[in-house]
């Protein structure tokens, strides 16, 4: 089809976590010897398309390496050919889909491409599509845009004429629709038709459906149509000899690529090139990438093993179809049952809490102890803790060590909570104060804490691994590096805004200082010296690569990019509308109608106009710039003005100027908007349970817990697609009815208002859709167990190095 240009949208990050740490989704290996993007490119080749553009996201080196000049797909040409069009501004994070703005950045490509039609398709669909047929159907339908999809789901694949596209690109900064799917779903003036793809097609977006799509190829009727001999899927040419089977092998329903050496048992799996499976190893329902080695007696179920993973003898690797066990490139997986970890942190609930960190430590340590990890936590013994718990704790030991030329003595106490040991370090001068933080010598206090932990490590341990949290523990890896046989460390960054900076002379003799900087940054030291790093969500991890988010530590983090993970925090099972004593009427997913009673109670308590048909938007938030308030004011004003049935409730405290602006709006709508300033002024659970929608337009949100709580209470989140919000909320798709909330990317008041209007429209006009969103929100898995499992995978990769 010489009249068609193909645009491959490879901008989607997906939710692959580790799998896309070093590659973009389109470059993910598939079915033993392909990569996902081979499908789009081969479909183009088979239809004779000779003009292809790829809009990549992130690290497209592996993609570039795979595609080369495009010769394999007949794209190595003088005229037209293959174009890779990266974002012009590499310093800014880009949206998760191809926007008209990005197209406009490369308007030259579109101007030069004289083909009459443009087909847009993601790089991560597994299908064998007849593009000629799609073009013909589009022409016949006389639609402006045709969407290609299957009965089962949407494929983000659209075809339109060049003229239509050029007009839209030219208007990118005028029209409120940022992407083609925006246009298709929301611009009623556009004439849209649907083209159904008859055969198999599956869009791959996360480890679970990635594994499932691979295993789909084992089904005869799917495998043979996707890898059709008439319209073959072409991949980069590689060489390996035929697979070799030794006499002990037993293989059933498995795809095996060249170069493999098979001695063990494999069932229902896909095995890529040059994999070695040794005697008595057992593999089931898994996908093994190139050069994986499975040693004698190892057992692997529901796993995705990345390239060059080595699974050591008799090691069990087990995931589930929903949560496959995923290794990373070159990981060595050994049997790691029964190891011990010590969390080092400045606070932990219920002993001491100033922020979310305390909850994370409590929840994570409990979940880990249930996983069979010997878990301990060490904290400073603050005055408040001593006052409350002096009767409860048990003396463990006394140690002395040199600190700035003086002999300092510490005592260590222990409280057991469940199976978790909480150790407390007592030191009068540094820790027994009224407040926890906020002293001039905070840096010195936590330098002392680090030294104290290093000193008692053998006495209260030993531990196989230290899990450090935030800047307070940043010096510990550097201190431990001076010792022999010190355990490896994982540093979790919960809040990058607090870094702990002091002058260099303060740490003279306390810490191995390198470089010539005048100031020492605790968090930066930790980033440079910890064995591995983690932060609180996969998207935030990616965002930290950009200075907009990572600020002064971007460079330090980029240097550790390969050792840096993002794991979404979980929330406790106790947060549950079914047994919440603080709300008017408990309810669960099977009694959603009772949520209405909570709404009435909330309206009453907040002195709002009552009514089930009112659209109640709730917010529980610190009132600060990064929470998105600057884009909220104007939007809220016009949204409330245009929609008399909308009510707004906020609980929070913070910036005075912001509060004043909110109050000004609230004064206009005394019966429709209520501000509760100060966190004690209302019960947040009443808002979580009583509101219809929960708003978080944050500019920055590393993880965010409120949206998870709201979702568990069946309150539909409307959030900006950033950090943990992007990882927990999926935008509702009006066609497939999939999605557990509403998201928007552009930090812009108008965009937020559009999204509020969408939510409002669905709430008013499509009750059953709204309920579907509520159900999907309630079913999302934000458990601590899930978080602990992901953290365990990181521990295992550290321990087997």
């Amino acid at each position: 089809m010489r009249d068609l240009s193909l645009v491959i949208d490879a901008t989607s990050h997906g939710a692959f976590e580790k799998l896309t740490q070093h590659r973009m989704p389109g470059a993910l290996p598939f079915a033993g010897k392909y990569r996902l993007i081979d499908f789009a490119l081969s479909n183009a080749k088979n239809a004779g398309v000779v003009n292809v553009a790829i809009f990549p996201w992130g690290n497209y080196r592996s993609l570039q390496d795979h595609i080369g000049s495009g010769k394999r797909w007949n794209l190595d040409r003088r005229r037209d050919g293959l174009f890779i069009l990266p974002p012009k501004n590499m310093m800014l994070p880009t949206e998760d889909s191809l926007t008209f703005q990005r197209m406009h950045e490369h308007i030259e490509f579109f101007r030069r491409s004289m083909q009459k039609y443009f087909l847009f398709t993601p790089a991560s669909i597994v299908w064998n599509a007849d593009l000629d047929d799609i073009v013909e159907k589009h022409i016949a339908s006389q639609a402006e845009v045709s969407e290609v999809r299957t009965e089962r789901g949407r494929l983000q694949t659209f075809i339109m004429s060049r003229d239509f596209l050029m007009r839209r690109i030219a208007e990118y900064d005028i029209i409120p629709y940022k992407t083609i799917s925006d246009l298709v779903d929301r611009d009623e003036r556009v004439k849209v038709k649907t083209i159904f793809h008859e055969g198999y097609a599956r869009m791959v977006t996360n480890p679970a459906n990635y594994l499932a799509a691979n295993l789909d190829m084992l089904k005869f009727e799917i495998g043979r149509t996707v890898f059709s001999l008439d319209t073959p899927i072409v991949s980069k040419e590689k060489t390996a000899p035929p697979a070799r089977y030794l006499s002990e092998s037993e293989v059933e329903n498995t795809l095996v690529a060249s170069g493999c050496l098979i001695q063990g048992n494999i069932k229902d799996s896909v095995v890529s090139r040059d994999v070695i499976v040794k005697k008595n190893a057992r593999i089931e329902s898994s996908f093994l990438m190139n050069n994986v080695v499975v040693e004698e007696g190892a057992v692997i179920k529901h796993a995705v093993l990345d390239k060059e993973t080595v699974v050591k003898k008799r090691t069990l690797v087990e995931g589930t179809p929903q949560q496959p066990y995923v290794t990373e490139k070159k990981q060595i997986v050994t049997d790691q049952s029964g190891f011990s970890v010590l969390h080092v942190a400045a606070e932990a609930h219920p002993f001491v809490k100033t922020g979310g960190l305390a909850d994370v430590i409590e929840g994570l340590s409990r979940a880990q102890s249930k996983q069979g990890i010997e878990t301990a936590v060490v904290l400073p013994l603050y005055k408040s803790v001593k006052d409350t718990y002096s009767e409860t704790y048990r003396y463990v030991t006394t140690e002395t060590f040199d600190f700035r030329g003086e002999k300092e003595k510490i005592r260590v106490y222990l409280i057991q909570r469940g199976k978790v040991n909480f150790f407390f370090i007592e030191h009068f001068r540094f820790f027994e104060r009224e407040e926890i933080y906020g002293y001039e010598d905070d840096c010195l206090r936590f330098a002392f804490f680090a030294h104290a932990v290093a000193t008692i490590l053998q006495t209260i341990g030993p531990f196989d691994l230290l899990h450090l949290h935030d800047w307070h523990t940043g010096l510990l890896p550097g201190i431990l590096q001076q010792e022999k046989d010190a355990p490896p460390t994982l540093l979790s960054i919960h809040n990058i805004d607090y870094q702990g900076v002091c002058t260099r002379d303060l740490l003279e003799g306390l810490y191995p200082l390198l470089g010539q900087k005048y100031n020492v940054n605790f968090l930066e030291e930790g980033i440079q010296t910890a064995t591995k790093l983690a932060t609180v969500s996969p998207t935030y991890r990616d965002e930290l690569r950009y200075e907009y988010y990572g600020k002064n530590l971007t460079d330090a983090l980029l240097r550790r990019d390969r050792d840096f993970y993002g794991v979404l925090n979980g929330i406790s099972k106790k947060l549950n509308p079914a047994n919440d004593a603080l709300i008017a009427t408990p309810y669960d997913i099977s009694s959603l109608e009772k949520k209405r009673l909570n709404k009435r109670a909330l309206q009453k308590r907040m002195r709002l106009s009552p009514g089930d048909d009112k659209f109640v938007i709730g917010m529980v938030s610190r009132i600060a710039e990064q929470k998105g308030f600057p884009i909220l004011f104007d939007c809220l004003k016009s949204f409330l003005a245009e929609h008399p049935d909308v009510e707004f409730v906020l609980l929070g405290q913070g910036d005075e100027a912001f509060i004043a602006r909110l109050e000004a709006i609230a004064d206009t709508y005394p019966r429709r908007m209520r501000l509760n300033i100060g966190f004690d002024s209302a019960i947040p659970n009443e808002i979580y349970a009583g509101a219809d929608a929960f708003l978080m337009p944050s500019r920055v949100e590393p993880c965010g817990l409120s949206q998870m709580i709201a979702m568990r209470y069946g309150t539909v989140p409307i959030v900006r697609k950033t950090g943990g919000l992007a990882d927990s909320v999926t935008d509702f798709d009006p066609v497939t009815k999939k999605g557990n909330g509403f998201t928007f990317f552009h930090y812009d008041s108008r965009v937020l208002e559009e999204r509020l209007k969408d939510a409002h429209r669905i709430f008013k006009e499509r009750k059953e859709d709204w309920e579907a969103i509520m159900r999907q929100a309630m079913q999302a898995d934000f458990s601590l167990e899930r978080q602990a499992r992901k953290i365990l995978e990181i521990y295992q990769s550290i321990l087997s190095d």
Partner: protein, 377 residues
């Protein structure tokens, strides 16, 4: 930069003793180890040795081979300077240049050598199985200051099948016998030669009236004329598969002695082949595959023992394949039994057919029809 070494690869061999495998293709195009062609080895060696000016001298059934090699991109030989050149028989003012033997073939294409003006010319054969770094040969050649150097090896089997060399104390060639009944030397010639360019011109300039082969004619003559002839001993696995039996044995060597050719060892001289672009093979039922090499695109429901399967072979349920080589596209029907067979491309074996042989026997659709066990494709 002047090209140091160019290679002339002789691929015109009829492989008469490999019939009927070579009925419609030149010997270098014969399938080996499931997914390779014999010519892959020499092309890969050249690529690994960074010799990328290659003249490929064709004559017998050249089309499938030319198609297969194409621009040489599968071996990274498609470089801007040099690359793969097909040298076919041609006519000029002196008449038809039909090739009468290996040396004669090189002489017909000396113009190719002159165009590239190299220091050395490496003369190779396209149907040998070995992984070799030719730079070692060049090093030996330069160290000894020879006029030309012969690659030699110690064969596993009888020397009488080869050209046998005797060496003097310094390791120069002093005697040569072609396939002697009672060999006097210890080394066999691999049939690969590195010539100084002017030596080659000189040797080929005259004297071809009596004979046209390097082995039979040129080397004895060169010894007689007191050329300095070096010998480079190759230590690795080397096989010249001239017969059905030796082709079969070389394939079985891969199963019984994988350490010999080391096809899986890519770091050390990988062997490239043109990708047939097939999906990984699918083992459907658990009937036991043991001691087998299986290529992409196969679908296996039956039992496979000690066999080599090329691409897109289908073995249906209840079938058993033992001690056999199945070439690309072969179908073995339900319940069929195949033993000690070399089944050629696209052969369809009907259900419940028994093809059980004592010694390796070549089967294709024609022969199958005669045996009453197949159908015409």
């Amino acid at each position: 930069m002047k090209t140091e070494t160019i290679a002339m690869v002789l691929v015109g061999g009829k492989g008469s003793r490999l019939r009927p495998i070579t009925e419609r293709k030149a010997k270098p195009a014969v399938t080996f180890a499931g997914k390779y062609r014999l010519v892959d080895f020499v092309l890969s060696n050249l690529a690994n040795t960074m010799i990328n000016t290659v003249g490929i001298i064709t004559q017998y059934e050249p089309h499938s081979l030319m198609d297969y090699i194409g621009l040489g991109s599968s071996w990274d030989l498609d470089v801007a300077e040099g690359g793969v050149h097909f040298l076919t028989p041609y006519t000029d003012i002196d008449g038809e240049k039909w090739q009468k033997g290996t040396a004669h073939a090189i002489r017909q294409h000396l113009h190719f050598v002159r165009t590239h003006d190299p220091a050395y010319v490496l003369v190779l054969s396209g149907d040998h199985i070995y992984k070799m770094d030719y730079r070692d040969l060049i090093k030996t050649h330069e160290k000894k200051g020879a006029d030309f150097t012969i690659g030699i090896f110690t064969p596993h089997d009888s020397l009488s099948r080869y050209g046998v060399l005797t060496l003097d104390k310094e390791g120069f060639v002093e005697g040569f016998e072609e396939k002697p009944d009672e060999p006097r030397g210890d080394y066999a010639s691999m049939g690969i030669y590195l010539f100084n360019r002017d030596t080659l011109e000189k040797i080929l300039a005259n004297g071809l009236e009596e004979g046209f082969d390097f082995g039979r004619d040129i080397i004895p003559k060169a010894i007689a004329e007191k050329y300095t002839i070096g010998a480079h001993e190759f230590q690795g696995y080397f096989r010249d598969v001239g017969t059905i039996e030796s082709l079969y044995e070389a394939n079985m060597d891969l199963i019984d002695h994988p350490e010999r050719l080391m096809l899986n060892d890519y770091k050390n001289l990988p062997v490239f082949t043109r990708s047939s672009n097939l999906s990984p093979h699918h083992v459907i039922k658990k009937h036991g595959i043991a001691d087998a090499l299986i290529s992409d695109g196969c679908m296996i429901e039956g039992k496979i023992r000690r066999s080599v399967l090329s691409g897109s072979v289908i073995v249906k349920s209840g079938a058993s394949v033992e001690g056999s080589l199945l070439f690309a596209g072969v179908v073995v029907g339900e319940g069929a039994k195949v033993k000690n067979a070399i089944v050629l491309e696209e052969t369809v074996i009907l259900p419940d057919t028994e093809l059980v042989f004592e010694t390796p026997t070549v089967i294709d659709n024609e022969r199958l029809w005669d045996l009453g066990g197949g159908r015409r494709a």
